[in-house]
Amino acid sequence: MNARRILAIARKELIQVRRDPRSLAIALLLPVMQMFLLGYGISLDITNLPTCVYDQEASQHSQALLARFKASRYFRVVKSVRDYGSLRRAIDGGDCQLGIVVPWNFSQQLSALGKSSVQAIVDATNDNTATLAAGYAQSVVNAYAGDALEMRFTGTARQLGAPQPIAVDSRVWFNEDLASRDFIIPGLVAMIMALVGALLTSLTLSREWERGTMELLISTPVTSLELMAGKLLPYFAIGLADAAFCVALAVGWFGVPFRGQLATLFLTTLLFLAVVLGIGYAISAAIRSQIGASQVALLFTMLPTAMLSGFSFPIDQMPAVIRAITYVVYARYYVTIVKAVFLKGSGLAQLAFPILGLLIYAVVITFIAARAFRKSLG
């Protein structure tokens, strides 16, 4: 390994990146676009869910209950209907995603039997929204029932032995507001780096092949390891700069809490970059056309990182076979690390397992990448 030769290659690569508008777009534009697009576009929180109410009773009690739905920030009552047909049309047409039906004997049953029911009709096309909406509706109804109890048993409630519900005192740790943005954005850093790194480096050797400069490179005294080091060095710098940019945007613009140590993030990011760049380099060595290489790189990074890394879909809810596959998805380890460093403030010791995963990956990939090119030289 000769430092002078490595630096020369690195300089050459940097000039090439600067002159290639496509590489520049990937390095500079992609992080900005993905950060803002996904930072704002991806939200699982529901607020102002369009709601339709059907009050069959139209009594003081039913009005009081529905007023609570109107006051809740989770629901926006957009329609009040007088028959089931209209309710059905409103939900079929997508004007409303929730229908609350108060039966005609609501308060009568409540006073005579102490028991009554309210119907919630949920458009469950999106099962996640439906589950959340039903949960919020439940808590609105529970709160109303609790207050109705207070009204009926003023003072004497306890002597009568009227049981009060179990008071659930819930505390949310690490993401106190349960904001999906705080959960998505740290993972986005991983997603962007995986994409940028693999897309950029996938071009590095195929470009030489396509332009016919590979033969020239081979004829120089540069060894294949030096070539790899020199070629990847600029991308390391670009990757780190992109990571810094994304983290700064996450904290400064989106206000995601950063509770861990920057050093932890820096060290693990270096490891992750080694893996990502190594994969891009290996693809580039194996596929000699730029367009083919970038397509393969996209296929191998985008889908697994978006779907199987725990970036948005929780891994522990996947079927066992898919869960086993996620251990092969290198982004999984980094997504775990970034989220933990941002939200939990975890240190190196707590992250030993994912770091070990990344480390093994880095070693294996570097080895494969180094071998991949030596073969094509011969």
């Binding site: 079929d92 589950t131 009227a162």
Partner: protein
């Protein structure tokens, strides 16, 4: 005119037959995506890893915990003996949720007083945490109501004298079992079609330009509109085959119901394919090389995908982004696809979406015809 178009069609299909990588590109990504989306994409919450700290050691506290485990939503992975152990489990990620039952829980319940149940939840994944908390509330209030009823009975009180109970009957329409797969798989039909068709069309035309055959075609009597027709018809057919293929996998393998009329689906797919083809051709008129087309597609398709409502509800986006989604053809096709698959609604409900796709398609195709005309002159 027809003759010339047919000649172009024959040429297109011959080219496709000879292109081996195209066959790979047409088959592997759809299958991969379907499998991943069908099996991995889920927001459902089952078996949340739970740590329990029971400081009351009463019959009541044990009953409550067993309600949690028997619901299937929670899985007790650890029984802690101290608050520190609970904290440790959450910190390390061994457990996502902690149930803490303090001493005196049963006594309070027996006296008919409010008994506290403390729940600590790891909110890193806000969605899982929210849903889990919803289940905690349901289980706790269910237990409290049952306990209250038996207590009241034992003391000879009628239900009317006891606490009022208001139950919320939940009816889930269109997806009764809240199956995430039913939501995602039909969406994949729409998304994949867009990615495939736009990529194929733009690459095919740019390749002609790269190889130099585009100029050869332009010197023949073929007019731009005929050229566009000759180019789009084969990809239209491919797009349709793709839709049919993915739809049949969705129906046969993933058992997603199809409640609407196939005609609505065919109409929706045709109009959507118009927009996708228009987009593909437009990209190809801007790009000189396949690499440029690749990058342009990436920067165009990604936002269209993110803003389509495929996974993340449009109503939760900021207002400005919601307006942007109005020009996204995928947004409309997703509504049509989910409407026909799950809701079983027809054209009487879906006409605004169909009209919007038609409009976007006409604009895109018109623009690309104009641009192609220019590049010929």
């Amino acid at each position: 005119m027809l003759e010339r178009i047919i000649a172009l069609l024959v040429k297109e299909f011959l080219q496709m037959k000879r292109d081996r990588t195209a066959r790979f590109r047409l088959l592997i990504p759809p299958i991969l995506q379907l499998i991943i989306f069908g099996y991995a994409a889920t927001f459902e919450v089952f078996g949340v890893s739970t740590v329990v700290l029971d400081q009351d050691h009463s019959q009541e506290s044990r009953q409550l915990v067993s309600r949690f485990t028997s619901s299937g939503r929670f899985q007790v992975v650890q029984v802690a003996d101290s608050r520190r152990a609970v904290q440790h489990a959450l910190d390390l990620g061994d457990a996502t949720l902690a149930l803490v039952i303090q001493p005196g829980f049963a006594q309070l319940l027996q006296k008919g007083q409010s008994a506290p149940l403390q729940v600590l939840v790891d909110g890193t994944n806000s969605n899982t945490a929210l849903i889990a908390l919803g289940y905690v509330g349901q289980i706790a209030s269910g237990y409290a109501q049952d306990y209250g009823s038996t207590l009241a009975q034992r003391r000879g009180l009628t239900q009317a004298q006891a606490a009022p109970q208001i139950s919320l009957e939940q009816r889930y329409w269109y997806n009764e079992n809240l199956n995430s797969r039913w939501f995602f798989v039909p969406g994949v039909v729409a998304t994949l079609t867009m990615f495939m068709v736009v990529n194929l069309t733009s690459f095919a035309i740019v390749r002609e330009r790269e190889v130099g055959t585009l100029e050869q075609i332009m010197v023949t009597p073929v007019r731009p509109l005929e050229f566009i027709l000759g180019k789009t018809v084969p990809f239209f057919i491919i797009g349709f085959v793709e839709v049919a293929l993915i739809t049949s996998v969705a129906l046969l393998w993933f058992q997603v119901p199809f409640r609407g009329s196939p005609l609505t689906m065919v109409l929706g797919a045709s109009l959507f394919l118009l927009s996708a083809l228009g987009l593909g051709i437009l990209v190809s008129t801007i790009c000189r090389t396949q690499q440029q087309a690749f990058a342009t597609n990436f920067f165009v398709l990604n936002p269209l995908f993110t803003l389509s409502g495929f996974a993340f509800p449009i109503s939760s986006m900021p207002q400005a982004l919601q307006w942007v989604t109005l020009v996204d053809p995928l947004r409309y096709f997703l509504i049509v696809v989910r409407g026909t698959f799950l809701k079983g609604i027809g054209i009487s409900y879906l006409w605004p979406e169909l009209a919007a796709m038609a409009a976007i398609g006409v604009v895109l195709l018109g623009l690309s015809a104009l641009r192609l005309q220019k590049s010929v002159d």
